[in-house]
Amino acid sequence: MDNMTIIAVVSIITAGLTIALGSIGPALGEGRAVSTALSSLAQQPDASATITRTLFVGLAMIESIAIYCFVVSMILIFANPFWNHVIAGATQAVGK
């Protein structure tokens, strides 16, 4: 397998694994956060504005971890610098 093939194969597999493993943690964390928020809403319904706002801010912070993994996987597929480098090299070789 030459360089191009290795880079392509590893990029594709890593992109899939990144988003797959990277969404497990945030999903579990968000589930726990929402369940705790629901039980505290049931205990104190008149604090619901504060609880809801804090819940949304907390969910956004947990979600950002999954977003980081998504961004890495998108970069690997669409803006991969190593792939662009070997493609530029191959195009130059064909053009000569």
């Binding site: 504005a49 504060t50 706002r53 949304f56 801010v57 956004a60 912070m61 979600e63 950002s64 977003i67 980081y68 998504f70 961004v71 998108m74 669409f78 803006a79």
Partner: protein, 231 residues
């Protein structure tokens, strides 16, 4: 299929390019500035007021209430900055309804610029509130050993602000683009609606986090007890 509106070039002359990010940002700025100017040109305090003035009043009082709830004592000082952040990001997300439009916040340059504004605004508001010495002392707040960690946390939460907003907006646009090529038209429409929802939530999150950081920087420390002398 491009990663961000940066790659959508409208006009190019040598080094200068007008890409999608710049054009859409200027469009949003025009709408916000001209719209507000027109609506506030004839303000009325009577019972009868135009519905646009009503809308603006609801938005402004809502933002003021949120800023006060976060813990900032006089919201009037901060509503210019925080309100603008919220309105810009929210309008950028809302306009995805318009065909052919791509949110400029889907490009890392825009979100990095907004995060840098917050990064600069937090010390400025902190120094304005507590003086240079008082603000710098907050960095060694629990103990001096925490100084590098406080500095790192400043940098990392700015980075997190930028990447969070960029990732959310870019993922929305990318999912729609991918779905358009493989599924019937109903699914991209549903995903556009979901993208609207996440866009508004992310606008709220961005401004609330900025407000929380400013509140942490301007929070008055425990005042030193002074002796009250009865004369």
């Amino acid at each position: 299929m491009h990663l961000s509106p940066d790659q959508l070039i409208f006009w190019q002359h040598g080094f200068f390019k007008l890409n999608g990010t710049i054009v859409f940002t200027w469009g949003l700025m025009l709408v916000l500035a001209v719209g507000s100017k027109l609506i506030t040109s004839k303000l009325s305090t009577e019972l009868k007021r135009s519905r646009w003035q009503n809308l603006l009043e609801i938005v402004v009082t809502g933002i003021k209430k949120q800023i006060a709830e976060v813990g900032l004592k006089n919201p009037e000082k901060y509503i210019g900055f925080l309100g603008t952040l919220f309105l810009f990001v929210a309008l950028a997300a809302l306009c995805t309804i318009i065909p052919g439009y791509e949110p400029p916040t889907g490009s890392l340059s825009t979100t990095a610029a907004l995060a840098l504004c917050v990064f600069l605004a937090v010390p400025l508001f902190g120094i304005e509130e507590q003086g240079v010495g008082g603000y710098l002392k907050s960095y060694i707040e629990p103990t001096v050993i925490m100084l590098p960690f406080n500095l790192i946390s400043e940098l990392s939460r700015t980075l997190a602000l930028a990447v969070r907003l960029f990732g959310n907006m870019m993922s929305g646009a990318m999912i729609i683009a991918i779905l358009l090529t493989i599924t019937p038209f109903i699914f991209p429409i549903v995903m556009t609606a979901l993208g609207l929802l996440t866009g508004m939530v992310q606008a709220y999150i961005f401004s609330i986090l900025a407000a929380v950081y400013i509140a942490a920087a301007t929070r008055t420390r425990k005042p030193k007890p002074t002796l009250a002398v009865k004369t």
